[in-house]
Subunit: 348 residues, 2 copies
């Protein structure tokens, strides 16, 4: 009744409301509405108000596909999670990095969407997605040996940033990584300084650059005392590998007073198995982890480990991508390194 605009608008709910409906209701042309929506040009205050009102009462929301098509960009960033099994998805470090990236990208006006590549079929489907201009940029979290998605990324013109430095020169994406070598070197020295000199090492899976770098850090700290026969090479990052490592070391366990592990899960496996063998941690043998995952505090004894800030990791990856999307020049092989710190608890 008191409404100045008494046009009858059945909220049909069947026919979707488009920008034209808004324009008609606001009594402007739909070009003006578009301008209003994108905040670019100037729209008269009067028109703006009517448009705002129309949008509100009509419950108008622009169609995503149409906007993407016309604009040639989607305002989304796609986070690709390439994993070998479900277990990997839930690594605390990954979850935290994802949360951080989601926040940073959201703040910049991008919607982060995550796709999971956990099968050959999924890899193939996602490779296609990448080529179809699905997103304005990509974050590649590959926790797998398979480089197929990294290769697929080469076929898009959109920027890509990796969550881990690669040792492959033919995959030239900027990356963010931790000072893996330095971290492992430092905690090894920490053990050495405590008088533990007969150390063994459990290395992560060979396809992982982090695993290699961490081993290198251990080697550097050990110097001429480095003994490859006291290194166990695991196939994955899981607890089971730690247990197997301890079993393998059993014959020489009496000659050892410390085991440096490639990550927390492995360290927990080692501790569990040492316990079964009757060795006390850290009294008989000290054990260290890497990551400072939530597991580290749940372990018994609590893990002394190398901490890496996963939240910072995700945030940094996201910001690097945003910079590139803004056009900032970044070297194709640029790797930003994040610091690690030692967290002393009970296991060493």
């Amino acid at each position: 009744m008191s409404e100045p605009n008494t046009m009858v608008f059945m909220t049909t709910a069947h026919k979707k409301v488009t920008i034209r409906d808004v324009a008609r209701y606001a009594e402007v042309s739909y070009g003006t509405v578009s301008r209003y929506l994108n905040g670019n040009d100037h729209v008269s205050k009067d028109a703006a108000e009517r448009i705002a009102n129309a949008i509100e009462t009509l419950q108008y929301v622009p169609n995503n596909a149409a906007r993407s098509l016309a604009q040639q960009r989607t305002q989304t960033v796609c986070l690709i999670l390439q994993v070998e099994s479900a277990a990997t998805i839930m690594q605390a470090s990954v979850a935290e990095a994802m949360a951080a990236a989601n926040q940073a990208l959201g703040d910049a006006g991008y919607q982060m969407v995550t796709v999971i590549a956990n099968s050959d079929e999924a890899v193939h489907r996602i490779a296609k997605l990448i080529k179809s201009d699905y997103a304005d940029g990509y974050l590649l979290f590959s926790l797998s040996e398979d480089d197929s998605l990294a290769l697929a990324c080469k076929e898009t013109k959109r920027p890509v940033v990796r969550s881990e430095a690669s040792n492959r020169g033919d995959l030239p994406y900027p990356a963010v990584d931790f000072t893996n070598a330095e971290g492992q070197r430092d905690i090894t020295r920490f053990l050495l300084n405590k008088g533990r000199s007969r150390l063994a090492y459990v290395c992560g899976p060979g396809f992982s650059t982090s695993a290699i770098n961490r081993l290198n850090g251990f080697r550097e700290a050990m110097g001429k005392f480095y003994d490859d026969s006291r290194v166990y090479y695991a196939d994955d990052w899981e607890i089971g590998s730690g247990e197997m490592a301890a079993v393998t070391f059993q014959p020489i366990l009496d000659q050892i007073d410390g085991i440096v592990c490639a990550n927390d899960s492995i360290a927990i496996g080692v501790i569990n198995q040492l316990d079964r063998f009757g060795y006390r941690v850290p009294d008989d043998i000290a054990v260290t982890g890497f990551d400072d995952s939530p597991l580290a505090q749940m372990a018994n004894p609590k893990l002394t480990t190398v901490r890496q800030d996963s939240y910072l990791h995700g945030e940094t990856v996201a910001k690097l991508l945003l910079n590139i999307m803004r056009g900032e020049p970044v070297e194709r092989h640029f790797v930003q390194l994040l610091p690690t710190t030692i967290v002393e608890r009970q296991s060493a």
Copy 2:
């Protein structure tokens, strides 16, 4: 040289290749190419081959936005993960369900994309996304007290399936859930049958339907012996809550021979704290969990718990959504219940 088609095609790499380029190269009209791509109508074998060849040599991939716009569907399903903190993202059950859903949806030709709602701003952004016809269907994994996204889903015409039954009648989405009550009832009876009759209970957060259902199961098994003063109501599902529960129960710990917990994390917290108090598990007090998460096997003693098959959960949720998207009629309040089983280990 031997190529029959000697047209010169600079792979300019600057100008993106469209369906028209393919048509020109294959010497057909682009309508035919479209038909070929969508496999619907009949295309002559001859033309099909030339098109296939053109697509291959031109490296053509259809543009996503354009296809979505013309077709009014995106061939994607959006999994919305509403969480309060990063820690929740990585719950093993969620990760496994996601992996399963990804597989099932992928097999059906849909790309699953996950968005994370971990802040008010993200919730708002995603609510808008939902209204913009971003996906053909939605999977709502809400591990939070906040119902705002469930409400936002009411404004889309696309089907929505929830991963957990809701107790709110105004959020009428089909859901898939576990037999929470039965599971907790059965493991309680399992304890009773073992001669443990003086039981306490640690309940999950009140906003969760699962938490309520599990408590009801416990209550049913206890019958007239149910004593609300022996129920601790936790604020979340974490280890810390288990520890606090044990502290709260301390005065009556000597009168208790078993504690049934709402989930595995809480059970571990209870066990840890009982250990600090000098009680032995299960000798003095038996403890049970719920979920059979990976933690259950890492705990010491290993957890006796109620197992729920998270992979099946994700798969079922996805298939239910697929059925609805195919037009199969499903009651708005339909809830599909998945079975739970008791896993006996050491803690009870």
